[in-house]
């Protein structure tokens, strides 16, 4: 995978295990793998908000939180990150796979 070249730690499903290793270039590469490249300003609004929120709260935000507070609503989230936005956003933002609740 492309992201291996960047020498960052990935889990078996291609999620970064250490969000502090993230760079904007990684987001672009993840976007290629997820088939949503190139990232637009709207994608970046989501990614930046999510990284900020996760850093301040210590937890990756739920899709509901993202749609409520990032300035991008659920409908658009599905357009920007189709089929499983939570997982695609997590990959682009350099976070582990969001834990589906049990």
């Amino acid at each position: 995978m492309l992201t291996k070249e960047l020498n960052v730690a990935l889990d078996a499903e291609g999620f970064m295990t250490d969000p502090s290793q993230w760079t904007p270039e990684i987001a672009e590469m993840m976007a290629v793998e997820e088939g949503i490249a190139p990232l637009t300003e709207r994608h970046w609004q989501v990614i930046n908000w999510v990284r900020q929120e996760a850093a301040s709260s210590g937890e990756f935000p739920s899709l509901r939180a993202i749609s409520k507070r990032s300035g991008v609503d659920t409908k658009e989230l599905y357009e920007l990150f189709p089929k499983g936005p939570a997982r695609k956003i997590a990959r682009c933002a350099g976070y582990p796979k969001p834990k589906g609740c049990i």
Binding site: S62, R64, A65, K68, T74, K75, L77, Y78, P82, K83, G84, K99, G100, C101, I102
Partner: protein, 411 residues
């Protein structure tokens, strides 16, 4: 007198009140339980109402009968929690209750209003829930005369109370329609926002296989955006549509409104809680038990029970000035009804997913894990008696609070 206030007299609140009156010196403590509803519901029983196995009376008891005599019980809505003032405002008589320690056990409930179209014209006509007693009874009446068609079971979003309930509903529906000789006239579809039949891989595989054997179609990654009641279809955010003749919905689950009013919750009104100690993240004299937490453990009675076990021990330490121990491991233990008098048992925690094996239980067990058996079904049926007579009253259960690997097969 020191004051301990418990908000919510459901499963968690009742269990913890019963345990606390034995642990605390009641000459020094005043314990008050506040709940808006006089009735205690045995919520695991709701599942059986649509199929006529239980009636409403089987799942209802007066709350007071299960709360200890030593505690003050106030039936009132809660207006506001003011953690900075250590007080809670009630609606009834505009009372304000001060506390030294607060336990929040206000639970979770369904909010069908979160999905546009769900509660319009077809609500309780061709769209039902079974997470409320009235919804379950209405669905029972509907099923008695239904001639068949496409039954879609949809989970709106995670987390939900009792994450195995949707699967159990489908297994029981399959058996119910077979018994009525109409299974060939019913199409069963399970539309879930998850990527598989269940949240944990090994169990998801087993349960997924069972869905296939029972000819129940699984639609994964379906995130409902709205219901079109005129076309009788559920629509997803990525523009998939599934038409239905009967929609059984598990709407969005949220914590209590008072959590939102008090500014103490996350986006679903669940209270941020320390994962292993159950202390509220932002307050040192508040603990959160049962479904009200934001923890990644199942919202289930068994989890509340294990939480209460570890909370009691920790709270006594806390009162003595010792630090809280990280003893809550997310332990859950659930019977899963699979129809025709059989059932599964799963036992897991934050870190260990449900595994196959045998579950030891002195006197009754062993129960087979992650495998269908008749004993598991009887375990579930017996559980209603156990719930009212042992569990709620805070008596000893033969299951340790922390998950054990004993009997589990590891690979």
């Amino acid at each position: 007198m020191k004051r301990l206030l418990i908000l919510g007299g459901g499963t968690a609140g009742t269990m913890v009140a019963n345990r606390l009156v034995h642990e605390l010196d009641m000459a020094e403590w005043q314990i008050t339980v506040v709940d808006q509803d006089e009735t205690h519901y045995y919520q695991p029983g709701f599942l059986f109402i649509p199929f006529g196995a239980y009636g409403k009376a089987d799942v209802m008891r007066p709350k007071r009968d299960y709360l200890p005599r030593e505690v003050e019980v106030i039936i009132s809505e809660i207006r506001l929690i003011e953690p900075d003032k250590n007080q809670v405002q009630l609606v009834k008589e505009n009372r304000t209750l001060r506390y030294d320690y607060l336990i929040i056990a206000t639970g979770s409930h369904i909010v069908p209003e979160e999905t546009p179209g769900l509660m319009e014209d077809e609500w309780r006509k061709s769209i039902f829930d079974f997470y409320t007693p009235d919804g379950a009874v209405a669905l029972h009446h509907f099923l008695r005369t239904w001639q068949g068609g496409r039954l879609v079971l949809n989970v709106a979003e995670m987390p939900i109370k009792c994450p195995v309930a949707p699967l159990e509903f489908l297994f029981l529906a399959d058996a119910y329609f077979q018994d009525r000789n109409m299974r060939d006239r019913v199409e069963l579809i399970y539309a879930t926002p998850l990527s598989s039949a269940f949240t944990k891989p090994i169990a998801a595989r087993q349960l997924g296989d069972l869905l296939e054997q029972k000819n129940i179609k699984l639609v994964t990654d379906f995130n409902i955006a709205s219901v079109d009641p005129d076309k009788k279809a559920i629509l997803s955010y990525d523009d998939q549509a599934i038409e239905f003749d009967l929609l059984v919905s598990i709407p969005t689950n949220m914590g209590s409104d008072v959590i939102e009013r008090s500014g103490m919750g996350d986006d679903l009104n669940f209270v941020p809680t320390e994962k292993h100690t159950l202390k509220a993240r932002d307050y040192d004299n508040i603990f959160v038990l049962g479904d009200a937490t934001n923890l990644p453990s199942s919202k289930a009675g068994s989890v509340a029970h294990f939480q209460v076990d570890v909370f009691i021990e920790n709270f006594m330490r806390y009162l003595d000035g010792l630090e809280l121990l990280p003893t809550f491991d997310g332990h859950a233990n659930c019977f899963i009804e699979s129809g025709h008098g059989k059932g599964f048992l799963i036992d897991f925690n934050y870190d260990v997913e449900p595994l196959p094996g045998m579950f030891p239980m002195p006197g009754i067990g062993p129960f087979s894990l992650l495998k269908e058996s008749r004993v598991n079904h009887w375990g579930k049926m017996m559980f209603r008696w156990t719930y009212w007579n042992v569990l709620l009253k805070g008596k000893e259960m033969p299951i340790p609070a922390q998950m054990s690997m004993a009997g589990k097969w590891q690979r």
